[in-house]
Structures are given as structure tokens and as C-alpha cells.
Subunit: 355 residues, 2 copies
Amino acid sequence: MVHNFNSGPSILPKVVYEQAAQAIADFNGTGLSILELGHRTSHFQAVMDEAVALVKELMQLDANKEVLFLHGGASTQFFQVPFNLLPQGKKAAYLDCGMWGTKAIKDAKLYGDVQVLGSSKDKNYTYIPNNYTVDADAVYCHITSNNTVEGTQQHEWPDTQVPLISDMSSDILSRQLDFNRFGLIYAGAQKNIGAAGVNLVVVDKNMLGHNDRSMPPMLDYRQHIANGSMLNTPPVFAVYVCMLTLRWLKEMGGIAAIEPINQAKADLLYQALDRLPVFTPTVAKEDRSLMNAVWIMEDATLEALFLEQCKKEGMIGIKGHRSVGGFRASMYNAMPLSSVQALVQLMEHFAHTHG
Amino acid sequence: MVHNFNSGPSILPKVVYEQAAQAIADFNGTGLSILELGHRTSHFQAVMDEAVALVKELMQLDANKEVLFLHGGASTQFFQVPFNLLPQGKKAAYLDCGMWGTKAIKDAKLYGDVQVLGSSKDKNYTYIPNNYTVDADAVYCHITSNNTVEGTQQHEWPDTQVPLISDMSSDILSRQLDFNRFGLIYAGAQKNIGAAGVNLVVVDKNMLGHNDRSMPPMLDYRQHIANGSMLNTPPVFAVYVCMLTLRWLKEMGGIAAIEPINQAKADLLYQALDRLPVFTPTVAKEDRSLMNAVWIMEDATLEALFLEQCKKEGMIGIKGHRSVGGFRASMYNAMPLSSVQALVQLMEHFAHTHG
């Protein structure tokens, strides 16, 4: 039995593996593998259409929102967002809450001015700053909704009239939000949407066309919209895996149904971390992520032993990011409660033996 | 029985489908699907290392060449190449032999000056111009080695000291070439390398660092080299499918073994096209592509009927590109000779009935 706590690429629903493997052998009775299926066929058009419709339905998007599946990961969006939306000489506001936000800021500075609203770098990104004012003339305000590496999550949103843009790579579709509040949302697929190799972008049409920078077509959101995410050959199989995962979520009951399960998993783990003194959660209580829990050991000499016991019990992906150290357990949508229960049981046993 | 003449995404070896489906169920006995496998694991590092080593071995690359697997398709390279290699105010030479080359030229003009060496647009791109001189001060000379849409192929290379850059998307690994002659080679994977969703770039280190344009890391080849194609989460599964396909080619005997098979398939089809007056190949004999054969019907009213008969015999992907019309049969590495034999048999039967 493997319990996959990987931070991404990460666990997907079992039914997705089964259906994806089947589509590689024979896609929908066509006699073709999905790997040899032309993207201009009605077969693949149906996959793309269903994936887009599922995103619109699950996120309850209004008519102004365009849904794109693009090549690359969120790191591609770090520059594609300001390249499209931040005209030369204009300003965008960014909140600096961790490794990914820092990279997004660095890319934005290539295209315009950046107001850094606040940074939690002073405390190793273990909290979310909340005492800031977004300049009214900022073109947009960028936040990372969940910091995969540091284990923090945005539970409140900036109080501003400026359009919000969020990197939601590691918590998209995990909790109910008014997604229509956002001017643009992007997310690498490999946590809650599907497998690595494709990027979801949800953009409000009103955000586009205010920039006269000359752009190669592949970087221009408008071109991708006009071509239904098929300006060039899309990552066919990756889009298919997204469609299967989105379909699974819908059949589960959508975000409203998965949210309390995610809450229950996180509660279980954080309660154990707070209860057992051998473990020390690193993040401020009010800013803890429901997706990625980060902790260290009170006695650092026990870390190797704990990791070894996790390994023996089939728990993988528990080691913290190299920039943070310690431990991290990622609990995305597809992670069953039983895996978190198994981890907590191991932690309790470890605490009693070594506490 | 399906005969897949798709132009891309296109047929891959059967063993690749089998192994890819197996890896989705359980990757190498890890108990994990490859879709949930972390890219920083030793398991995936081994996949990436083997894929890179296979490219180096199959293409017999010298030590100056770096092999990258990047997000996106060849269309991404249309701008990434000049963005990295063409400094503002400098000039690059481009040959215009079809739809893809035209797009590459358009993107290059965003970054510097372009010398268009020649164009076969006057004859609907049915031949390859060969009477041109590359300006000695051009930074590089860009050619499309094989024109997927129009069915032409570069059988000779520009006579120049300027570094050659080639889009080899649709004929890479299909014929023996001195790949070390090229400063940069790129290819979308979805024809001869693997499935859609990843891009192969082979770049000579000497080409890099001559440009002081400020670049986001995701567009900078040097950053991808420094990070072994894992600057961000790579398209894990797509790279795995490349590795499997490259491994198959090596086990076949490499390019030296596949080249005569590709020649035999093309000879068989072109001989039929030349022999049967009902069909009219569109491309100049000396410039015909071994990968994509394009033809029209002498009597256009028969086209729908021929297409219908192809469909009845399980032959898919035969319809020509919407910009060219008529028919196209793509015969990539993984296409068995028997499929071309079946097509030729059908053509002969059709010619006798309707000739």
C-alpha cells in the first residue's frame, strides 16, 4: 500500500489512471491510442470541449471568462501574465509569500513596475502579510493562493478594486471561492487538475487588449482564445487526463463536496501536529494550508528516523522542500482520508516511542 | 484494422502504447502511476537521463551539443529561437517553404532583421528554392527540413558558413544526417519522437550567450540547460513516451536501420502516384518528402468517393491539410510498410475502377 503525499506531480483518482491507461490501449473504441489521435478530429474536440465545460461548471464561471489549456506550467504564466497584461510603464501589485511568488515578481519586473505589497520573507514565509494597501493605479494585484513549498494559504483576499490575479496551482478546485472575482487565474495541472504538462488559465475577456506590446502568437492569450486552445498542437494526453479528473470531481459532487473532505484531512493532521510535542508545525495557525502541511521535529536528530519509518509504511513525498527542510504532507483532492489517518497513526506511535 | 496516416499526432510503435499504459497502472513496480510520480525522484531522473542519452546516441551528437526537452511545440520555438539567438539589430536568414516556415519568419521579425532567402509561395510551396546566397553577416540560417503540410523535404542544405538552424518536427530521426552541422535543431515530439506535449531542442553551446536581451527564465535555453530540462515541473509523461519511442528506435537499429524502411515506404507510394493517372502528386520530384506524400485527383469529383473508400478500409488521416486540399499520407518511423502496401492496393483498385 502506497500513500502518496507528493507535492506535485501528485496523486490522482484511481479511476483516472484506469481510464487513461484504457485510452492509451484504445481510445473510445476508435482502434487508436489517444497518443496517435489527431487533435483536429471530432474525437479530441469533444475532449477539449468537455474539459472546458467542466471547468466552467465546477468554478461556476460567468460568460466573461475564457478557459484555456496551454502548454507549460505555472512558471510559464509568471511571465505570460505580465507580458499580456502589464503595459510598459504601468504598475502591478504583487504579494510576496514564498518561492513561487518571488519568481512571479522577478518576471513581472521585466515588463513594468511592481509594487510589492508585503513579504513574509522576514519569517521564512511562515505567514501571510495582511496589512497593506494596493495602489489604486495598479493594473492588477497578484497573489499566490496557496504556497506549496511553505505550507501557507490565502484565507482572505486583498481588499481592493484592482483586478485580482492568482496563481492557484496548488489549491484550485479544492475550496469554494467566488472565482468570478478574479481577472485571471492560472494553475499548473499537476496537483488538482490532472497530470504535469499543461496549464489551466481562466481569464476575464475585459483584461485583454489594453497592451500594444507586439507578441508572438504563442504568448498571446487572445490568439489561444480565438483558436480554442488549439493554436498549435495541444498536449493532447495531458488535456485528456484533466478532463477525466474534472469529470471525477463533478461526479463526486464538485467543489462543495470535496471542500469538507479536504478540511477533515487537514484538521486531522494539524490536530496531531499540535497535540504531539515531538512535531512542530512551522506556519502561523491562521495561515495554514489545507493542501500542504509543513512541520519540523523538535529534536532534529529524529528526522532521519521518522522519514525511514514513513518509508517503511509506504508513505512517500513526506520530505520537505529542499529550501525549507523538515517535512511536508500534501493532501490534494484525490488523497483519501485513509492515507492521512495512516500518517497520523504513525505519528502518534512515533511520538509515544520517542516523545 | 486501422492504418493511421495522421500527420501528427501520429502513429507510435505498438510496444510504446503497451509500456505507456503499463506505466500508468504501475510505474516500474513502484506501486505508483507515472502520472503521480514526482519529477525530482530518482525514478524520473533516470527517465530523463535515458531520453537525453538516447538522443545523443541516435543523433551521434558531439560534446558541444545540449539536449533539452521543453514544454510547448515547435510553434513555441518559432519565437524562442530568435528571442535567444537573434540580438536586436542583427539579421537572420530564413527560407520560406511553407506554412510553418512562414510562421517562423513572422516571429523572427519581432526580434531582429530577416533575410528571406527564397520562397516557393509562387507555386503554392510545391518545391524547395535552391538558388540563393546566405548573407555572411546573418547570425544563423533557418530552414524547415520537412514541410508536413505541403509534402516537400530538404534533400540538400544551404551552402553557407553561417550556423544552420532547422525545424525538424516532421522528419527528425527518419534519415541519417550530420546533426553536428546544426547550431540548433528543434522538433515537436508528436511525429517521430513521442506524443504531443513536449519539444526536443538540440543546441550547440557556442550559439548561446551572444545576446543581452533580458529574458524570463522559462524562455532562456541556458537556464533549461543548467537545470537539466527541469527548471520547472517537466511534462513527465510526455518525456517518458519520448524515452520509450527512442528506446524502440535504438532497438530497431537506429536511424541507419529505419532510413531504408522509410525510403521503401515512400518509393512504394510515389511509384503508385506516378503510375496511376487518376492521382496527381503535387510536389516537384526532387523535393518530395519521404514522410508526407501529397496528391490531388485528376478528376476532383472523385475525391469524396476515394476518401470514403479509404475510410471503409480503416485508413485514417488521408485528407490533405485544409490549406492545400487533396490528400496526404504521412509515413513516419512507426508506420509499418504493410499500411502503405494496403493504401497502394486500394489506390490501384480505385484507379482500375475509375481510371
